[in-house]
């Protein structure tokens, strides 16, 4: 069938073409409706793709029918099908929620432009994930990054600090992307190809080459900046804290995950983790940094008053978990990374959506402003608690599944101290989640604050879809673990 043959390209082309259309749509509702339709379409595409590759195969799509070394190839296997599902799924769930939130936070005459930037961001993230061409990754990365800077800056109507946050993000993001493209250039220099599958074939004999080693360093540093690997995370807390609620939901759940995917792809597919020079980098650089991120991110989160910034710091800690799994380079470690990539999107999506609801009703998301709010917005805060429990890793939530695999990976290596540190970081999460719960449930509401109603149903339903997904995939982890298993086999098994 024609549709099925071209799903891979439609996934990216439809949001890309919808973006300029969206600029021309008048009013506030049409741009939103178009973005919603496109998001749902991409979700259908990624479900189709995941269904086709979950057994372990891969789909290759040649752009313009040019065969790979000449043309650009889109290649979908289990890992990027999963990331595509995360990106398009979060977007599809967040868009029904978006309408009111965006009406509240964005100037009425700029909705068309806002949704255009959003569509471009979606295009970029999907493109980075699906493409099988190293330079193409850079191009899509910049499409998504540039539109992200615009989206973050759109928060300036509520708080001017969004502008300085967007500027910092722009400078650091550009440095990161430029490092990445420099790394890709070095790889092209020695291999003469940009196709990821070709690179993977041609690199092993060149493992001793200084150029290849430099390329690896540039790619890791560049992607480290983009995915906010400690200590390259400084752009993240303010960008998440001052961006409009929808943008924070979408970015926190997807943008860093896509960068984690690119790093996974380069470390495990392009270079291959058994390269002599990569193992020490993982063990002596990425692993300690991941542990520091886990602990430091959680400690700083405890001391935050702004709740969005609190969960932004918690994201840095959670990225630490993902990097830890990646650095352990074992089957359980990688399973943990892949699972956490998916699971963290569910938790942070739910948490930031709930905070967006608080923003809508109260206009501020600090610990002080949510005092006593749980009795007025019971559904919102119940979902917030579920997200928080999942963040901590309580059994029965998705957070438990990925942390379980991570601790398993540490114990398999016999590193008990590491396993203890993972548990300690989870306990730190208990503290900051408890601070929020205590303020919302146990403290009395301030006298001078007006009573508010709970979020409207069109915002509550998406929130609860994500909150229940946190529980669903925590109890029935079959789907996610089987995909993760396929991914791990591809990374550690037959591939070089």
């Amino acid at each position: 069938m024609a549709f099925l043959d071209h799903v891979a390209i439609l996934q990216v082309a439809v949001p890309l073409l919808a973006a300029p259309l969206c600029v021309m749509l008048p009013g506030r509702h049409l741009p939103w409706a178009l973005t919603l339709a496109v998001s749902w379409f991409t979700l259908v595409c990624s479900i189709v793709l995941l269904a086709e590759v979950s057994a372990g195969g891969s789909i290759a799509y040649h752009l313009g029918n040019w065969p790979p070394p000449i043309g650009i190839e889109y290649r979908v296997d289990a890992i990027n099908a999963l990331v595509l599902l995360v990106v398009s799924g979060i977007s599809a769930v967040a868009l029904p929620y978006a309408r009111r939130s965006v009406e509240h936070e964005i100037e009425p005459d700029r909705h068309g432009l806002f949704y255009t930037a959003y569509l471009l961001c979606l295009t970029g993230l999907l493109g980075v994930t699906i493409t099988g061409d190293a330079f193409n990754i850079f191009v899509f990365l910049e499409i998504s990054s540039l539109s992200t800077y615009v989206l973050v800056a759109a928060g300036a109507r509520l708080d001017r600090r969004a502008l300085s946050a967007a500027y910092t993000y722009l400078v650091l993001g550009t440095v990161g992307a430029t490092f990445f493209v420099l790394g890709v250039g070095l790889l092209y220099m020695v291999t003469g190809t940009l196709n990821i599958a070709d690179l993977a074939e041609r690199l092993p004999p060149l493992a001793e080459s200084r150029v290849v080693q430099a390329a690896f360093a540039f790619v890791v540093a560049g992607m480290g900046l983009k995915l906010a690997m400690f200590p390259l995370h400084t752009w993240l807390p303010n960008a998440y804290a001052y961006a409009p609620s929808l943008v924070t939901v979408f970015l926190a759940a997807t943008a860093t995950k896509v960068s984690v995917y690119v790093l996974l792809r380069f470390v495990y597919t392009v270079f291959g983790h058994e390269f002599a020079f990569i193992e020490p980098v993982l063990a002596w650089l990425v692993l300690p940094l991941a542990v520091i991120a886990m602990l430091a991110g959680s400690v700083v989160a405890i001391h935050q008053d702004n709740l969005k910034r609190m969960f932004a710091w918690s994201s840095i800690a959670q990225i630490g978990y993902m990097m830890l799994g990646l650095a352990l380079a074992s089957a359980s470690g990688l399973t943990a990374t892949v699972l956490h990539l998916f699971n963290h999107a569910l938790m942070k999506g739910a948490l930031f959506m709930a905070l967006g609801g608080v923003m809508l009703r109260i206009g501020a998301v600090s610990l002080a402003s949510v005092r006593g709010l749980a009795s007025e917005m019971p559904w919102t805060f119940a979902a917030l608690v579920i997200g928080g429990l999942s963040l901590i890793g309580v059994p029965g939530t998705v957070g438990f599944v990925s942390k379980w695999y991570l601790i398993l990976a540490a114990i398999e290596k016999g590193w008990w101290l590491l396993a203890l540190l993972i548990v300690a970081a989870s306990l730190l999460a208990v503290i900051y989640v408890w601070k929020l719960v205590e303020a919302a449930y146990l403290q009395p509401a301030p006298q001078d604050r007006e009573r508010v109603r709970d979020m409207p149903p069109d915002m509550l339903i998406p929130l609860w879809v994500l909150a229940l997904a946190n529980i669903w995939f925590g109890i029935d982890a079959g789907l996610t673990t089987s995909v993760a298993g396929t991914v791990v086999n591809a990374f550690l098994g037959g591939g070089s």
């Binding site: 330079f135 850079f138 191009v139 910049e142 540039l146 800077y149 615009v150 800056a153 300036a156 708080d159 001017r160 600090r161 502008l163 300085s164 967007a166 500027y167 722009l170 400078v171 550009t174 440095v175 430029t178 493209v181 420099l182 250039g185 092209y188 220099m189 008053d305 501020a364 600090s366 002080a368 402003s369």
Partner: protein, 129 residues
Amino acid sequence: MPEAITEHYNYWLVIFLLMAGLFVTITSGNLVKKIVGLNVFQTAVFLFYISLAKLEGGTAPILTGEPERFSNPLPHVLILTAIVVGVATTALGLALVVRIRETYGSIEEAGLQEADRQDELRAAAEQGR
């Protein structure tokens, strides 16, 4: 060792520009100068891609039938894309600087951080009431 420098002087230039651009981006306190630094940094990468495509005596890759040496056209095309990305980044960065100037009244990083800190304190004071 001198040959390593003279034969590959273009790469040394690239390294110098990379470092100079990154240095300005990190150390300059002026937001516009940071963008300029970023530009130099990106330009160094353009130069790098172009140099690796160049062959001594190579011409444009037009097939004339005679045995000829061609420069590799692919990096040139890639860099056209990268230049577009660079222009977009610069434009967006400068647009942000304009907005920052309008709202903060300063384009110095120090002034910005001070203003952000004041905002923070004011927000804390309001909640403490």
